[in-house]
């Protein structure tokens, strides 16, 4: 049999049993669509979370007091032994490789301006804040340098807080009250958006030492150290660790690099993507059983045809190939349809609900298609073998 004739025979047989063929392919299509859609959502979630985490830059080492660390807010006030101080931050700033340091202390307080009061986040930071966290000053200036132990009462507003308190009125030079102290506004930050639900624009930035005084704290919650691109993370980490141990006598602090966090998050989310992909795989399995069932029934139903083919001189191999090709073709066609369905569904979902992060991982999609083809082979081989082994005499009698 020439390949062309072979193809025509298989195509004619599939076309002749349109409904059955369509249903078989549909089973696979739904399975593949599920895999593609679910992995699209998984990968989209991964992209989304990683972007959230890296929007402040990835070359950051966080120094927190205490040996153990729980993700989320720093445990500054329960610090185990010696608190981390502004002096520590100054020392770290002089460490080789480090290009910026932000000593952080913060909390919630009332902020009043132009007669309006809002309870909001008060961030005690240093002048390097915009560099370290990739924040931009929209107007005015950020907190100036100078002696961090005795800073001036300047404040920089987040864009949302500015809007809430002052509306469209000019704000530079205005006075605000933070807690019980009065500050002069010297700048407004550009909008930065939310990070994992925390609105970075709804807050006021004041010098660290003043925030510490406001919240009555000895130690810092955190020191964020940014290092240059040319310096490897582990070197900076080692240098920071050495410096801190030298100053504290032992390791009573925890170092976390943003890089590590992003990496760990990425791994977790990869597993998640794989898991939802496996969930979709189950529906693919169901589709495979569908192919197996329908092909098995088809062999029974078409016994007369198989017997005839044998009588006309078709060999075992030819019958096997015909039925196997039919199964593979149906599964692959179903797979391709599922791919379109899944990717289209993901795109549609994204168009309808823009908040849902969607990212079709084409690696998974290609894998799904190959799987569909493999499913066709696996589900087709048993019925095809049955067809080939059918006794022609029995088969012809069946009709």
């Amino acid at each position: 049999m020439t390949p062309r004739d072979f193809g025509r025979l298989v195509a004619a047989s599939i076309a002749a049993h349109r409904l059955r063929s369509g249903l078989t392919a549909l089973g696979i299509a739904i399975g593949i669509a599920a895999v593609v859609l679910l992995t699209s959502l998984g990968a989209g979630l991964r992209e989304f979370v990683l972007a959230e985490f890296s929007q402040f830059g990835t070359r950051i080492v966080a120094v927190n007091p205490g040996r153990t660390m729980t993700h989320g807010m720093p445990l500054g006030m329960f610090g185990s032994s010696r608190p981390i101080t502004i002096e520590d931050a100054l020392a770290l700033e002089a460490t080789p490789g480090v290009i910026g340091v932000v000593p952080y202390s913060g909390g919630n307080a009332e902020v009043e301006g132009q007669g309006r009061t809002r309870r909001t986040m008060v961030h005690g930071v240093g002048p390097a804040m915009p560099t370290v966290f990739r924040m931009e000053v929209q107007s005015g200036l950020f907190l100036p340098g100078g002696d961090p132990r005795n800073p001036r009462a300047f404040a920089v507003l987040g864009s949302k807080l500015r809007r809430e308190l002052f509306g469209d009125a000019p704000v530079l030079g205005a006075r605000v009250r933070v807690g019980s102290e009065r500050y002069r506004v010297i700048g407004v930050l550009a909008p930065k958006g939310e990070m994992l639900g925390l609105d970075m624009d709804d807050g006021v930035f004041i010098p660290t030492a003043r925030a510490q005084a406001l919240f009555n704290r000895d130690g810092l919650m955190e020191i964020d150290v940014i290092y240059g691109e040319e310096t490897p993370a582990h070197e900076v980490l080692a240098a920071v660790k050495r410096m801190m141990i030298a100053r504290h006598g032992h390791e009573d602090f925890t170092l976390t690099t943003q890089e590590q966090m992003v990496e760990v998050m990425g791994n977790i989310l990869n597993v998640l993507t794989f898991a939802v992909g496996a969930l979709g795989g189950i529906s693919l399995l169901v589709g495979a059983v569908g192919v197996l069932t329908i092909m098995t029934i088809a062999v029974r139903e078409r016994a007369g045809e198989i017997g005839l083919f044998r009588a006309l001189g078709a060999s075992h191999g030819q019958i096997l190939a015909l039925f196997l090709a039919e199964a593979i073709l149906l599964a692959t066609a179903g797979g391709a349809a599922g791919l379109v369905l899944g990717a289209g569904g993901a795109a549609l979902l994204h168009a309808l609900v823009p908040g849902v992060p969607v990212e079709t991982p084409w690696g998974y999609a290609a894998l799904a298609l190959v799987t569909a083809c493999g499913v066709g082979i696996l589900a087709g081989i048993l019925p095809a073998r049955r067809a080939a082994r059918l006794d022609p005499v029995e088969a012809l009698r069946a009709e």
Binding site: F309, A311, L312, V393
Partner: protein, 242 residues
């Protein structure tokens, strides 16, 4: 041309052994017209299946055109079936999703014949059986007579040496029966070896040689010179005239 020696075919039905063929000796010459008759269960269909290599005998020897067929492997048997033997069945066994022409073409397709050569053969076979106008019809659009004619065209398009017909008129009315038998006999006169299995004496009596089977054995084997002689001097291996 066909030589059967002590052919046996045993089936196991439950724990009972059924002797469908119980030592059949039969020699059929090239260009013969043989009818095989007998009550149901006499083994006549089994004999036809053995002759057509659809069934393997459990004992005995079968020589076809001088070759021992019983020892051939599956591939060679399939090829022999394809090239030397044509089948016509009671139930027609046409492929429903192929047109008449495509059904006729099927054995050539399975044999991998080139398209050009194939077309010519199919056209000739359709013409021979008066089906040219029906070439594009599907089996469901044809009535019994034409359906069986398509089956005959398909059986002969490979230019086989033997045509095996199993109750070829069993599903046909009288008019179609006469037509189909007439066409089969025309092919026989052109040199084909024709073997017809039937339980209808009217059909069986048309043959030049009548074999009667009872209980898996040949009960009688008589010639009927009244049936028309095949034209002399025809080489059965040669393609029959279109």
């Amino acid at each position: 041309m066909i030589e059967l020696r002590g052919i046996e075919r045993h089936f196991h039905v439950g724990d009972q052994e059924v002797h469908a063929l119980d030592g059949v000796d039969l020699a059929i010459g090239a260009g013969d017209y043989v009818s095989v008759m007998g009550p149901s269960g006499s083994g006549k269909s089994t004999l036809l299946n053995v002759l057509g290599l659809l069934d393997r005998p459990t004992g005995g020897r079968y020589r076809l055109e001088g070759r021992d067929i019983t020892t051939l492997d599956e591939q060679d048997q399939a090829r022999t079936r394809r090239e030397r033997i044509g089948f016509v069945f009671q139930a027609f066994h046409l492929v429903q999703y192929l047109t008449a022409a495509e059904n006729v073409e099927l054995p050539l397709v399975l044999g991998g014949m080139a398209v050009v050569e194939r077309r010519a053969r199919v056209t000739a076979a359709l013409e021979e059986l008066g089906l040219t106008a029906r070439a594009a019809h599907r089996p469901e659009e044809l009535s019994g007579g034409p359906r069986q004619r398509v089956a005959i065209a398909r059986a002969t398009v490979t230019h086989p040496a033997i045509l095996l017909a199993d109750e070829p008129t069993g599903n046909l009315d009288r008019r179609s029966t006469a037509d189909v038998m007439g066409r089969l006999e025309r092919l026989w006169r052109a040199g084909l070896t024709l073997i017809v299995v039937t339980h209808d004496p009217e059909i069986g009596d048309r043959a030049r040689r009548r074999v009667r089977m009872v209980d898996g054995r040949v009960a009688s084997d008589e010639s009927n010179p009244a049936a028309g002689d095949p034209s002399p001097g025809i080489d059965p291996a040669a393609p029959f005239p279109a």
